[in-house]
């Protein structure tokens, strides 16, 4: 019995070290920004995902996410519209709340997560992942009505393959690829799922009627982006702090892995810029992120980071740069960075929305 003590102690020390490293406990964050930054008035309860419509110069923002937190069901889920054409000057920047019309739509059970869009018959159609008060999942489909402006609810998609959907990307009209970042439906369950290292993440393709599994056995696939020009799919695998680049098959029911880039940061949602580079909002110190997401309506903040991944033409080699980094006091818990015309919007899981001006493309 005495002889077992030494290997047990060594094992515990090794485990403690692994936790220390994986929770980023010794990590130092230095602040820097690409230009003037300020908070956008409107999305107080966060801005977890942002979808930019380049042809119109606008962006849709989801706000009011509750994630495995039944005690926060009272938080109102909202959709916001940010107009990139608004004057920057010194005044307050605003995002407009979009009213949602539709008889089948239950505003009280709306907590939006990831979103994507597709232009169907000249109308901008939004696909938004929703979790209701009981953390049951669906994909809500809205058409954008610029005259309001408002959103008109068209339908609600439910399917057993929407296990724990996090993010979504449209690859055709009503054709969607969604990421399930795990299996557990409760906070405790999720805690054990992460601790045990169980790879329960999956990626599904919804063709409008049926669901097809594209990938399985992943460590929390979270952000997803699709480059229609090159037919490339990008997925961020949070638990392993890496991003994968895939070729999407013609029938969209399978993918071929091209390369994997280690980011050494827990990166959340992905955004594809017009030059083909992929941006991500990342959580650079996970222990702080865990604390601040557990205190969404309180004072705790966590460091934020924006990473930019630029691939070569073959999508085999990537270079990574860091356009923005903050210790949490300017923006907390960044989950996405979206760019348009020398402007950067940094969305957060549950605390506000930041706008930064990009003074020169070389700082990206």
């Amino acid at each position: 019995m005495g002889k077992l003590i030494i290997p047990i102690v060594i094992g515990l020390c090794a485990f403690a070290w692994r936790i220390y490293e994986s929770m980023d406990m010794g990590r130092t964050i230095y602040n820097h920004r690409p230009g003037v930054c300020r908070q956008v008035h409107g999305p107080v309860k966060g801005s977890e995902d942002i979808e930019v419509i380049r042809s119109e110069g606008i962006a849709f923002v989801t706000s009011g996410l509750i994630y495995l937190q039944p005690t926060r069901a009272h938080v109102e889920g909202k959709m916001f519209l940010y107009d990139f054409n608004q004057k920057l000057g010194t005044g307050q920047l605003k995002a407009k709340e979009l009213p949602i019309k539709g008889s089948n739509f239950d505003q009280n059970n709306f907590h939006p997560h990831g979103l994507s869009h597709w232009v169907v018959n000249g109308v901008i159609r939004l696909y938004v992942i929703n979790h209701d008060d009981d953390f049951k999942h669906s994909i809500e489909v809205f058409d954008y009505d610029p005259s309001g402006p408002s959103l008109i609810h068209k339908k609600s998609l439910k399917h057993p393959s929407f296990i724990r959907p996090n993010n979504i990307v449209a690859v055709g009209a009503d054709q969607l690829i969604i990421t399930n970042d795990g299996v557990a439906q409760t906070e405790i369950g999720n805690f054990f799922e992460i601790l045990s290292g169980y790879k329960g993440g999956t990626v599904y393709f919804w063709d409008g009627k049926e669901s097809h599994q594209i990938l399985s056995g992943m460590g929390a696939p979270n952000g997803i982006a699709y480059d229609i020009k090159t037919n490339k799919l990008f997925i961020s695998e949070v638990n392993y702090r890496r991003i994968h680049a895939y070729d999407l098959a013609k029938d969209k029911k399978s993918v071929t892995l091209l390369s994997t880039v280690n980011l050494y940061s827990a990166c959340d949602n992905l955004f594809l810029d017009s030059d083909g580079s992929v941006y991500s909002g990342c959580h650079s110190v996970l222990i702080e992120t865990a604390k601040s997401i557990g205190d969404c309506d309180g004072e705790a903040t966590s460091p934020s980071q924006v990473l930019r991944i630029k691939f070569d033409s073959e999508y085999k080699i990537a270079s990574v740069s860091e356009p923005y980094s903050n210790d949490g006091k300017e923006v907390s818990g960044s989950s996405i960075a979206a760019l348009y015309n020398n402007q950067m919007l940094i969305g957060t899981v549950c605390k506000g929305l930041l706008h930064c001006e990009v003074t020169h493309p070389s700082v990206l």
Binding site: E21, G26, R27, T28, Y30, N31, H32, R33, G35, V36, Y264, S265, Q305, L307, S319, V320, S321, E322, P323, S325, T359, H360, S362, V363
Partner: protein, 376 residues
Amino acid sequence: MGPSNFTSFLFKLTSWLGIVWLSTTIVRFILLSDSNKRVYNHTPGPCRILQGIENGSAGIEYVPELRLAFISNGLGGSDGEIGRILTYEFPEPKAEQDRSVKIHEAIPLKIQKSDSFRQDKFSPLGLSSFTSKGRVSLYVVNTHPERKCVEAFTFVKEKSLLQHRKSICDHKFNSLTDIAVVGADRFFVTNLAYFNNGWMQMAELSMQMNMGSILLFNGKTVEYAEKYSPSPSGIFYDTPRERLIVSSMINEVIQLYSVKRDLSIDHKLDISLLSSPGGLYVEQKSGDIFASFHPVLNSLIFHWLGTNEERKASPSQVLRIRMQNDDVSWVVTEPYANDGATISASNAVAYVNDQLLIGSLFGKCLLCDVDYPTLA
């Protein structure tokens, strides 16, 4: 307990204490080596390499009266490759529109020898200067193992020439790294460690033994200003505020001292940065401290052990520390960071007219525009 039991108890106690000390030293070294630290690239604006510098720009001294930066070169050279000093002239502040067109070139200076100077035993590292009545005196730390000296030169601008005046040598100059001039022939120098170089120095630094020192040359003799200092690498004298800034490479702090009339120094505070500082520069007007860093120490070790043909890249970083009005708190921002692909092992820095000049230990020298100085 008989005598033999006592001795065996003592023996067990000593060996257990020895094992504990060894384990803590090893763990502290692993933490120090930054094995899990990552550096992401970003710049404060467009950057370009200075032409004319290939194998080292390990020390930079900016002289505002001449708008000239002196750069020490040649640390990356093998035995026999000469150490040189080059200059880079910053454009006049109003000539901004020409910035993008101008060729950024560093000009090498000729050295006029005196009796005591040996060109083949000149390995320059830290530099500092003293300007009086239009005359610039340049003091250069010579790290060549056979010359534990500070070389003093007079700069002759019209001839692009450095006239060697004298060598100030002392047996206390164990591992000279950097120099800060406070008056005519009066300066502070740093000894990084007790041992000069090689494996002994590396072991001493790895065990974090804090056996470096800060020395003062008062015009006649060399005295200890601080006999035991934690691996002081860079040193800079902030004239308007009468402050001595010292960077501690292994303890990863920047120390502030106030300097009295008699040139004695008083330790005021430590700024903890969790990254290994090397070169220092204080912006005269604002008092902001710019420092260059080696963010990942294990990469620096591999970089240092390489040869000029093959050197593993080591990340670079520049931080800007703004002391607040109460003089005891500060704000830190990071204008520049690189994983080593553009510039490796940044060892010197200067900030002039919204441009950042960054020198590397064994490689090229980078000049970056800082587009939004209040934010970077």
